[in-house]
């Protein structure tokens, strides 16, 4: 690095990179800074980060980014090819596809977040309980996990939506129901390693309860691999949700969901290619962003 003068910045850096941190906060921030440095050196991971941040910004500022109301129909203007007025063209109801793609980021984010906040804790709880308690609890929980892993994910989600009825909420429930087993597996594998560590024995000897040990000492250690797993899983969740939407089982019209938009453009694919193409590109870019980010995070946080 080219820090020549003794500035505030370089002293900050020294403080962060110190090999003998004086406080817990310094150690933690220093660790974080080192991870950031190694993450920053990975171009593909940085591209992923940029895409994900852009997704968040676009979703937050959708009304500012979109040029038109995503639901406003304009039949005289239907099926217009891409132009300056309609960057991605218009669909069969004359709605501006660019605006619909922009608002679609919100739908995608909502689905992904809802799935992750249900699946993460459930997987963590099941995995840590199985790994820490062992014995028959472990056997029973892992057998259940295996049964769900034996199902193809999309087909199981399809069967669930068929039973519950189509719709955004049911699609989320179905995806969550099929997505938790890998999280439980990861959390269990981590717990098995941590359980036999000396510091856990030390805490046990001090008389900590099992709940306290799992919650305060095992769960935090599982977090890095779980975060990596979650980021890599986001793409899969997005694709499954889009697949359900495409089959007409996810978000219902007129919600601008990307999978459903592709489905709507299917009839005109040979004549008006833009209707199905742009929502698909949006899915690709966002899924790729999460995959690149997760891949980079794995290199940084998950040395094993």
């Amino acid at each position: 690095m080219s820090d020549t003068s003794v500035s505030d910045r370089s002293s900050w850096r020294d403080w962060l990179m110190s090999t003998s941190p004086a406080s817990r906060r310094q150690a933690r921030l220093g660790q974080f800074y080192r991870q950031w440095l190694s993450f920053r050196g990975n171009p593909s991971a940085m591209i992923g980060l940029v895409i994900v941040v852009a997704l968040l910004l676009v979703a937050a500022a959708a009304p500012l980014v979109a040029s038109q109301d995503p639901l406003a129909q304009n039949l005289p203007q239907r099926l217009q090819p891409p132009s300056w007025a309609h960057l991605f063209g218009t669909d069969a109801l004359g709605r501006d596809i660019f605006s619909r793609v922009v608002y679609g980021t919100r739908v995608t984010l909502v689905i992904v977040l809802l799935v992750v906040i249900t699946v993460g804790p459930i997987g963590l709880l099941i995995g840590c309980a199985a790994g820490y308690l062992g014995g028959w609890v472990d056997t029973v929980l892992m057998r259940i996990t295996d049964v769900f892993l034996a199902f193809p994910r999309l087909v199981l989600a399809l069967a669930f939506v068929a039973a519950l009825g189509p719709g955004l909420e049911n699609a989320v429930i179905a995806i969550a129901f099929t997505a938790w087993p890998p999280y439980a597996r990861v959390a269990r594998a981590e717990t098995l390693v941590i359980r036999n560590a000396d510091y856990i024995s030390a805490i046990e000897l001090q008389g900590a309860s099992q709940g306290r040990i799992v919650w305060k000492h095992v769960v935090p250690m599982c977090m890095p691999s779980l975060i990596v797993r979650t980021t890599l899983d986001m793409a899969g969740i997005i694709l499954t949700a889009a697949g359900l939407g495409f089959l007409g089982l996810g978000a219902q019209p007129p919600i601008p969901e990307w999978g459903a938009m592709i489905s709507a453009g299917r009839e005109q694919i040979f004549d008006q290619w833009w209707v199905a193409t742009f929502p698909g590109l949006a899915i690709c870019v966002v899924a790729l962003g999460f995959n690149l980010l997760g891949d980079g995070l794995r290199d940084v946080m998950d040395a094993r």
């Binding site: 295996d146 034996a150 193809p152 399809l158 793409a235 694709l239 690709c284 899924a287 790729l288």
Partner: protein, 347 residues
């Protein structure tokens, strides 16, 4: 060398492994049946109304309810369901008015044909790609392989199918459109195996073989791209793992040419996990075929499930789900056994 006692110990160990494997499979199948049964039970649609219609008088309704066994306790119903499944009775499809098992027998070969060629494409391109990445670890071919692999995980398969149709069918005209066979050839090929290309070849209809291939290649390639991503990534990581072993260093020190170190020594040791990976990717293609078949109007299991789904034909949906799940279990078991048989340390 191995005395009789060693042989006995070894076969006892094998017995234990096979026994444990069988128990696992039995439990998984039981769980599979339980899940499909429960899905059928939580369905908000009243199965009795589906049979008698919503204008049926109370006594007809009650009789149908008794006929369906819905008055019995849940566990008895589950036992009856298991009994039916094991005698090959998955119920009748409302949509086709045929037994679900018969329906699945007609559609399954089409999916098998698609997934097999897809896996073949994935393996033929994915394995060399992964080897190339592993031997150039950290340099640009590796970065490229990583990017392409992640891209493969990020493309929605149904969209890729549509784009393929748009480009290669509509614009370039290189391949045939949706369906399995052009109408002109449909009467020439009688179903023998259910796999159109094979049937046409047996009957010597070479034009029909070419036509069938032209229909098959695009959906199979779309599926293949998905498995190229997975297979190349796994090949890379297995091979890198092997290339770090001591025997590789020993071979290099001995002066063995690099291509023989990679292809002869390292790759041979990576074959076993690779077979497992290819088997797993075959499984995932069965799943990917659900959406691909919808795009290409391919009359396979995936389209059967989605079609039934859109018509609320629960017997067909759950029957199809059960079959796909059973295939998953079988492939898992198969790859486990292959892995154990081929690994001398486990023999």
């Amino acid at each position: 060398m191995a005395a009789a006692s060693g042989l006995a110990a070894r076969s006892a160990r094998w017995g234990r492994i096979v026994g444990r494997e069988l128990v696992t499979v039995a439990i998984t199948i039981f769980g599979l049946l339980l899940v499909t049964f429960l899905i059928a039970r939580v369905m908000p649609i009243d199965p009795v109304l589906a049979v008698v219609g919503d204008r049926a008088p109370a006594d007809v309704y009650e009789k149908a309810r008794l006929d369906l066994g819905l008055d019995k306790p849940l566990w008895t119903q589950f036992a009856i369901y298991i009994g039916k499944v094991f005698t090959g009775d998955l119920g009748t499809s409302v949509l086709t008015a045929q037994k679900v098992t018969d329906d699945i027998k007609t559609v399954f070969p089409a999916t098998l044909e698609l997934a097999t060629l897809g896996t073949l494409i994935g393996a033929v391109f994915g394995v060399p790609f992964g080897i190339f990445a592993a031997t150039h670890q950290g340099r640009w071919p590796d970065q490229l392989a990583r990017f392409v692999g992640l891209l493969g995980y990020s493309i929605p398969v149904f969209w890729l199918g549509l784009m393929g149709l748009l480009l290669f069918y509509a614009k370039l005209g290189w391949v045939a459109g949706p369906g399995r066979l052009s109408v002109a050839y449909q009467d020439f090929v009688d179903p023998i195996t259910g796999i159109v290309m094979l049937d046409a070849a047996i009957q010597g209809e070479w034009d029909a073989v070419r036509d069938a291939f032209s229909h098959l290649i695009l959906p199979a390639s779309v599926l293949g791209i998905l498995s190229i991503a997975y297979i190349s990534r796994m090949t890379r990581s297995f091979l890198i793992n092997e290339l770090q072993q001591q025997y590789v260093i020993a071979a290099r020190v001995k002066g063995v040419p690099e291509w023989r170190v990679v292809w002869g020594h390292a790759l041979r040791n990576a074959v076993v996990p690779l077979v497992t990976v290819i088997a797993l990717s075959y499984m995932h293609l069965l799943e990917g075929s659900v959406l691909t078949e919808t795009i290409f109007a391919w009359p396979g299991l995936g389209r059967y499930i989605t079609n039934s789904l859109l018509n609320a034909d629960m017997n067909a949906v759950l029957g199809g789900t059960l079959v796909v799940g059973a295939v998953f279990i079988a492939v898992n078991l198969f790859s486990d056994i292959i892995g154990r048989l081929a690994d001398p340390r486990a023999r």
